[in-house]
């Protein structure tokens, strides 16, 4: 049982979900409410990780973040090292890879809110920001929670991108899914089995907890 891989995976998944909460909501808001005629291009880009093989995405991220390209150079000049094969690189790649899993449910949540409620909020003197936090967000909580849960779960389960960008450095970039692969390759079925089971149970519990609590929290004002 490789506990450092488990901890690493959890750390990565929590960080990705947190970053996507902050990054995904403005993107989802823009996708939902923008009337720009070329909006579909942005939507297509956001959705790309859904269809691309992880290796293709991993390849571009690896090259893009590498020392020969602009983003990589910029990072190196600021922090003194390159991103690939570090936890930071893994995080950046995972955020990109899970972007549609956060943006799409959140955008669907926003889209499901009756526009007249938003307009009513404006006519009652609320600013756009205030309307967002007091009306839009509470009413699309199910979409936001789904987006968070999906990006968390997707990050725990990712394999291809992690291998391409992070490599397989114990304690730094060796996540649970890669550890299980390693153990299986080395015919350590007993260890692989245990790790896989822990991952399975943990994922199930987290999902069950979040769906259960959010359902109850959301259901309150529908019932009484």
């Amino acid at each position: 049982m490789n506990w450092s891989a488990v901890v690493l995976s959890l750390r990565l998944a929590v960080s990705v979900a947190a970053i996507l909460l902050v990054v995904g909501m403005p993107i989802a808001y823009w996708v939902t409410f923008s009337r720009w005629r070329w909006k579909f291009l942005v939507e297509a880009i956001v959705a790309l990780p859904l269809v691309l093989p992880p290796t293709v995405l991993g390849y571009y991220i690896l090259v893009g973040l590498g020392p020969r390209h602009f983003a990589g150079k910029l990072w190196q000049s600021w922090f003194g090292h390159t991103l690939p094969f570090t936890f930071g690189g893994l995080l950046a790649a995972s955020v990109l890879y899970s972007l549609p899993f956060a943006v799409q449910p959140i955008a669907a949540g926003f889209d499901g809110v009756d526009r007249r409620l938003i307009e009513a909020s404006w006519t009652l003197g609320a600013s756009r920001l205030s309307t967002f936090f007091r009306v839009l967000l509470p009413l699309s909580m199910a979409g936001v929670v789904t987006g968070l849960v999906l990006s968390f779960a997707h990050t725990i389960g990712e394999f291809g991108v992690v291998l391409m960008v992070g490599g397989n450095i114990p304690g730094v970039t060796r996540t649970v899914s890669i550890d299980i692969y390693d153990q299986t390759q080395a015919a350590n079925y007993d260890v692989a089995n245990k790790t896989a089971l822990v991952l399975l149970l943990f994922s199930f519990l987290v999902l069950a907890f979040i769906y259960g609590t959010s359902r109850r929290a959301l259901g309150l004002w529908r019932r009484t």
């Binding site: 009652l124 529908r222 009484t224």
Partner: protein, 360 residues
Amino acid sequence: MALEVAIEKQVDDFRLAVEFKADGAPVGLLGPSGSGKTMTLRAIAGLETPDRGRIVLDGRVLFDSDQRINVPARDRRVGVLFQSYALFPHMTVAENIAFGVRQLSSEERDRRVAEQLASGHVAHLASRYPATLSGGEQQRVALARALATSPAALLLDEPFSALDTHLRNALERQLRETLVSYGGSTLFVSHNLEEAYRVCSNLVVLAHGSVAARGPKEEIFRHPPALEVARVTGCRNFSRACRFADGRVEAIDWGCTLRVAQNFPKPPGHIAIRANHVRVRAWEASDAKNTENLFPCWLAATAEAPFRVTADLRIGTPPANPTDFHLQAEILKHEWESLRNVPQPWAVELAPDRLFLLPD
């Protein structure tokens, strides 16, 4: 206290160009669906941007295309009662009412909410959620929420359209009382003319995106200035008209010549009479001599309401089928009971002072 509106907006092939003023007394914005009522209301609230024009509320310019002024909805101090009420489903009644007064001190806020809960007769619902309220209760809460912000103008978008008839009457009376004590300008959008007539003292009638009539309601009902206006005010009997000499008019579609009392300087396009002004009685032998505005008629079809009957009548000859009629007459039930067994033709009388002419 005045709201001045003069705006234009083109949406696909619909063109809105309205101009009117509302000062103090509630103004009814009347018109068939698709005439631009709701768009006008949304433009005043700041939810829709006109292409051109000016909106001024109590001397404050809310919109002016020349000066490039477009005050956002949140700063307009225009309260809106939406057709669907648009209550926030995740907030209690009290929280809904408090929504627009958050910036006030907590004592002032509590005072305002309590005041609105009481005057809207919804105090007993304060901790309930909107989903558990009836339509009438939701409407009262929505009105209380809009009034809590003490808006400079109040826009009511068909506030009774989603309610049962018996609820309407009670709520309408309550609304009239509320509007009397409310100090700002009120705009009442409706397609129900009786409702608008009861609530408002002045009317603006929209047709095809422009103002077809505006003024005191009695004036508009007595002398509708256009065919669309007459229709909106509930008139159902129209005929194309052509002027004869000595105050007579030929009603082309009705196939008769009529004397009219109205002094009408323009060439008439249509002649009209309200269904409740059409008199119907048994035909008497002496009627044949009296040809002025009195004609033999036959019944084509009827529609019965609890206290009245609408009779579709054809002048001159019996109808070929139930849809072959010239005029509709509204007859009280007890009169109808005695008339229905009288052999036809009946006599229909179109009194000269009840007939009115409309320009082309």
